[in-house]
Subunit: 138 residues, 2 copies
DNA sequence: ACACTACATTAGAATCATTATAAATTATAA
DNA sequence: TTATAATTTATAATGATTCTAATGTAGTGT
């Protein structure tokens, strides 16, 4: 259980005012052992259950976008009606379980090295994202 | 310039009735040398310019979804407000040029083999998608 | 050729995630 | 404490996609 102070510092040091809504969302996202993959509606539901203070949907969107800009979160590319975010911001990839609509981390050991041989002059690589779609095996 | 007959056969052989709308869309998508990456609105614009018959938006959606189901098209995972499709249905991956908002094919030679070492019991791999985001070098 | 039926097309309405707006509230610095 | 700039909020607007139900059309059998 982390102290609020940790989050207040985290926010302040990246130029975000530590409001109670932001701290509440930090606690939910970052005060946990495992990676958290979530959509805005997941987050909304979790906030409603775990804290009795209601945070407006607009604030949830604003906060998550601010957190993404500050590098607290990674956005994950899935073709889905919803956008997914990941509290694990390190270089890594994902399974997407199409039956459960759940993301699963693939860490370095789970995936061979990816070698990109094509070079485009004047361009640089910003990120490499691998998504492995899986389904129930029949 | 391909003959309509080619498309009529293509459609019929996969169980789709060769209607004039479907043939028109086939001509636009598949009567070209290079891969075509497009969104529904791209397609809509192209249809409006290149053919004088108007095809309703609902039909464009229906047709593209049917074509995807029949394997004529691949859907591409980018985080975007729009869904993108690709006339190249072979196993391949993409650059996404974030400056130009354009997709570029990566063919087999452009990318080393991707090895997935993690196995989840009861699950099978449906697809592997690699997206390499690039920006202007500077 | 005719009629039948299942499949397709269509305009417009509905849906739903996300973004914008503008008024009220709050954090911070002076 | 006060000023001001950032933040939160309810609500409206947006826009891609899906749904609906009426009309049209292709293919089959007669």
């Amino acid at each position: 259980m982390k102290n609020n102070h940790v989050f207040i510092e985290k926010l302040r040091s990246s130029g975000l005012r530590p409001t109670k809504q932001r701290i509440e969302i930090c606690k939910l996202l970052f005060d946990r052992k495992d990676t958290f993959h979530f959509s805005i509606s997941d987050l909304e539901n979790n906030l409603e259950n775990l804290s009795n203070k209601k945070i407006s949907l607009a604030t949830i969107y604003n906060t998550i976008h601010a957190f993404r800009e500050k590098g607290y979160l990674k956005e994950i590319s899935i073709n889905s009606d919803k956008t997914y975010f990941d509290t694990n911001t390190s270089d890594h990839h994902h399974f997407f379980d199409e039956s459960k609509k759940k993301l699963i981390d693939l860490n370095d050991n789970d995936l061979g090295k990816i070698k990109i041989k094509k070079i485009l002059p004047g361009k640089k690589i910003k990120s490499v994202e691998v998504l492995v779609r899986i389904t129930n095996d029949k």
